[in-house]
Amino acid sequence: MRLLAALVLSPPAALFAAAAALTSMPGDLSDRLVLSGLMFPLLWPVLFFFCYWPRSRLAPCAVLAVAATVCGFVAFRG
């Protein structure tokens, strides 16, 4: 379950989080693009790592699914 979450959910969660940062952060668009671009390669390993942190096997799946959904919503709306 953890490996599944790490392989399947962490890439879209990282991507949507970076895209949400791009659309919703304050500041100049080019600056936001730089920041979100730098976030993506950092977030992906961190979220992958996070999948092995909680005691519950389901927690990473739930957290990443919710994060991906919320961030995706913010990114598309922005």
Binding site: S30, D31, V34, W44, P45, Y52
Partner: protein, 508 residues
């Protein structure tokens, strides 16, 4: 941290290392060689061993003819000219042209810096292989960069999990029990090298991941946040360039413009990019080396029609963030601080290779000499030794092959690639057949040492230029490659001779 969590993170670190360790090793070692792509050029092609005269030939007549020819061939997407440098002492024009039928072609042209005579192009070979194997593993450019970028993300994950499971980092930095059991020796080497070079390895991993993954990040984010328009992202970062004036005009001399830029910034420009050729709104963008900032090049914009310097800057606008993107490549390839920084990067890159290889050996050592050794572990151990030690051997082999092929040889890259993979596979097969990993490692390292030390011989046999002659004529980069080959050969041979013939027993 509770035991269960520690075990989970430890397992993540171990299995990720076992599954992806060789991949990270390959990208790291290829990165060490790719640092010297520019410096290898005069060694690779003896026709570029040119002593540039103090007053070189003006490039404008040749470049004008080239630019007009390109404009007549189709829509010019980019047009640039490299000015002579010590590493590449020629004028090198480059154009990317979209023809009427939609095909896009990249056209290169070289001119002698002293006479202006055209130099025929040599087919891509050693340098292209060394640089592009690290950038994209010689796969399709986009796919290859993504795959290599993923190695950076994997390395970040390995580093993160490694730091978390090693809770006594300060003590482990200073522990190196070389005369205890084999496993302890691997473990201490792995931890000490990893911890001492940690900041640089994090930087390599992060910048490498960014350089590779930005290729998928930009179109995906464009699809999500810019309604599928990647052009909007590029425009946001680079700004909309000024449109052409629509009035044709004669072009100002690039030679004179380069002199003006040099007088203004105190450094000779190395590249000029031309936009809107033969238009009153044409712009020359000169790049000059900026060694004192963490940015590889400064920029000077000059009017292409009037020769007036419009702006000189390091980054397009003030602030921290605009400096970040230009700094990423500079940091990753050590393009700051001169050759000494590159030599430091070599050591750190080799340390990363050793950390990866020792990590694999720890995992295998536990299984090979644990309770339940399996034949598969033995095979994995041999393959690991063959792949790791064979990669350097294959890389030095293509130096010799490329050097011995005639200058006008057709299909050079195919031969170089075939020899590279052929030699590498042969080394792996040798490791499988040899049945003794220690002797295999010793043999392959010794063979690599011989190939490296023989670089001056190969160069002299092909071109007649020895190290002394090269130094006397001022070709320091070509001589430097020969000297570096000798130094690497001696070092590797010394290392090979220290490898025991079999698994050593622990001292009491």
């Amino acid at each position: 941290m509770d035991q269960a969590r520690h075990k989970r993170i430890h397992d993540l670190h171990s299995w990720l290392g076992v599954v992806c360790g060789l991949f990270v090793f390959i990208v790291s070692l290829s990165g060490v060689f790719s640092l010297f792509g520019d410096e290898l050029r005069t060694w690779e092609d003896e026709r570029l061993r040119i002593a540039v005269a103090p007053d070189p030939a003006p490039v404008m007549p040749m470049f004008s003819a080239f630019a007009d020819e390109m404009a007549a061939a189709g829509r010019v997407l980019t047009l640039s000219l490299k000015l002579p440098t010590a590493a590449e002492p020629v004028y090198a024009g480059n154009a990317v042209v979209r023809h009427d039928d939609g095909t896009v072609r990249v056209i290169d042209r070289l001119w002698h810096p002293n006479t202006g005579a055209r130099i025929s192009l040599r087919e891509k070979g050693l340098v292209h292989w060394v640089v592009d194997f690290h950038r994209n593993l010689m796969l399709d450019r986009t796919l290859g960069r993504i795959v290599v970028g993923m190695s950076g993300a994997i390395l970040l994950l390995l580093i993160l999990s490694g730091v978390v499971i090693h809770r006594k980092i300060l003590r482990e930095m200073h522990t190196w029990r070389l005369y205890r059991s084999v496993r302890l020796r691997w473990q201490d080497s792995h931890k000490a090298m990893a911890v001492w070079s940690l900041p640089f390895h994090v930087m390599f991993a992060f910048t490498g991941a960014w350089l590779g993954l930005v290729v998928i990040f930009v179109p995906l984010v464009a699809a999500i946040a810019f309604q599928g328009n990647p052009g909007a992202i590029f425009a946001a970062v680079s700004g909309e360039g000024a449109p052409p004036a629509g009035v044709s005009a004669p072009m100002f001399s690039i030679d004179e413009a380069a002199k003006r830029v040099e007088a203004r910034v105190g450094r000779a420009p190395v590249v000029v990019t031309v936009t809107h050729w033969r238009d009153a709104g044409a712009v020359y963008t000169f790049r000059y080396r900026e060694d004192e900032a963490l940015i590889s090049h400064g920029l000077a914009k000059v009017g292409g029609a009037d020769g007036d310097i419009r702006a000189v800057y390091l980054v397009s606008k003030p602030g921290f963030l605009p400096r970040v993107l230009p700094a990423v490549t500079t940091l990753h390839y050590g393009q700051y601080g001169g050759l000494w920084v590159k030599f430091l990067y070599v050591l750190l890159g080799l340390a990363l290779c050793l950390v990866t290889a020792t990590g694999l050996m720890i995992w295998l050592e536990r299984r090979l000499h644990g309770d339940r050794p399996r034949p598969l572990h033995r095979v994995l151990s041999r393959v690991t030794v063959g792949v790791c030690a064979g990669m350097g051997f294959a890389t030095f082999a293509i130096f010799h092959v490329d050097r011995q092929l005639p200058a006008d040889f057709a299909g050079r890259l195919a031969v170089v690639g075939s020899v590279y993979f052929g030699t590498w596979i042969a080394a792996a097969l040798y490791a499988l057949a040899r049945r003794n990993e220690y002797r295999t490692c010793r043999d392959l390292l010794a063979a690599t040492a011989v190939l490296a030390a023989a670089l001056p011989v190969s160069n002299m046999a092909a071109t007649g230029d020895g190290i002394a002659a090269l130094l006397h004529e001022g070709h320091v980069y070509a001589a430097g490659v020969d000297i570096a080959g000798l130094a690497v050969g001696v070092t590797l041979m010394a290392a090979a001779l220290r490898i025991p013939a079999g698994r050593p027993e622990a001292r009491p």
